[in-house]
């Protein structure tokens, strides 16, 4: 019968019309991010960091700009940990490269900002706010 296919298609639509919703009502509702989620800002745990620079060496796009300082006990400290998130590919190679697991993602995916300078921040001073670089 001509038009039978159309009716079958319509029946699918009508069935779903009364079915359960599959969408999430963002921003009222938010999905939890997975354990492995790569995104948001980098958080540096200064107690764990040994200043080895492996993270910036693993970065494919030079998104990390580090300043390492040696103190009187010849221990290296991270003075500045600039993450240029505009250059970041979010591959997570820095996090994987870290031997002491000092770098992690904060998993906050809402990272849109108004100005270009806001894309660059210092993870050492990271207190969850936009710390702009210069």
């Amino acid at each position: 019968m001509q038009g039978k296919g159309l009716l079958t298609g319509l029946s699918v639509t009508i069935r779903h019309f009364f079915g359960k919703k599959v969408t999430v009502q963002y921003p009222e509702e938010k999905l939890p991010m997975s354990e492995t989620f790569r995104g948001g800002k980098l958080v540096l745990d200064q107690k764990k960091c040994i200043g080895c620079r492996l993270c910036s060496m693993a970065c494919p796009n030079e998104a990390l700009d580090l300043t390492v300082e040696t103190d009187e006990n010849k221990k290296r400290h991270m003075k500045k940990y600039i993450h240029k998130s505009g250059r970041c590919l979010y591959c997570g190679f820095c996090v994987e490269a870290c031997p002491t697991k000092a770098v992690t993602w904060d998993k906050n995916y809402a990272i849109a900002c108004y100005t270009r300078t806001d894309l660059t921040y210092d993870a050492v001073k990271s207190d969850g706010r936009n710390e702009t670089h210069e």
């Binding site: 296919g5 079958t8 298609g9 029946s11 639509t13 492995t36 989620f37 790569r38 693993a58 796009n61």
Partner: protein, 372 residues
Amino acid sequence: MTEAVSKVIRTEEYQLSMGPVHPSTHGVLQILLTLDGERVVKAVPCMGYLHRGIEKLMESRNYFQCMPYTDRLDYVSAMNNDFAYCRAVEKLAQLEVPERAQYIRVIMAELNRIASHMIFIGSLAVDVGATTGMIYPFRDRECILDIFNELCGARMTYSYIRIGGVKSDLSVKVIDMINVFLKNLSAMIDEYNDLLTGNEIFQHRLKNTSVITAEQALQLGLTGPMLRASGVNYDLRKDNAYSSYEDFIFDVPLGNSGDNWDRYIVRMKEMRQSAKIVKQALDGLPEGSVMAKVPKVLRPPKGEVYVTTEGPRGEVGYHIISDGTVKPYRVHIRRPSLINLQALDLMCRGYLVGDVVVAMSTIDPILGEVDC
């Protein structure tokens, strides 16, 4: 219009620029159409609007750092691109991939193939005007993206398949998610069949339009579903089995006439076959490690390789030349979308403007890959 009248009223050919901001050009592709009335005389795709110079970028990064860039070629099926790149580097550096990693790679590549074909069905539906038909495959693709998100932390640019293996082993949660998805997939495909395949208007738009014969397809160098829709049985997973594909039983769906309809049906059937492969791979998943011993600083010996993999759009090939340093000397990527797109002119000639949209859609190009 009768013959006599058409001789009196001479029509003039004119040019129409379709894209690069046309909703049905799947990104930023411009098609220069030469039209005679509403018939297409010539269709020239103009590419390069999304060119990022990935091949060149890869020359200035080491072999590991190239991974995120291969993700960004064909962003709809990034797993398959990573897969091809890693196989090429592994061949170059003579690395042996553990069997468990090979199986996991197959699972991920096939899941990504299903996701990619779902995008194809959705975009084809919206291009022929069936907007409802788009929503369903996109909804179901979300299930696969959730699996990938759980697995590697990203929905699109995975970087999961690594040189020498895969990033991490499958967790119990991921295996459960895949099993649930496989269970539901059949119902999902049935739903698309109800919505689109049986629809008379949809059939009318697709059948007997943009026919490519087997001979023409081979001459144009088409690969993937485009080639198989014309009836040529060529699938690298069967003909040049890699990464344990020889362990799995599956069919290669073929078309008869090489029209838009066949290209659609071949992809629909491929989804079921991919699911079959994933099921077998999950059931027979061997024990062991998922990563080979790869040196931290990888310096493959001097030489060059060309390795091909069957992606969802066709043959993805990586030609890598090594000069013995940590960075590749030259990388050339055979992108199936680019080569398949060359068939556009042949597919559009003599057809109506409305058919250009459908032809474009059944080629299923991803502009990130076309422009590289």
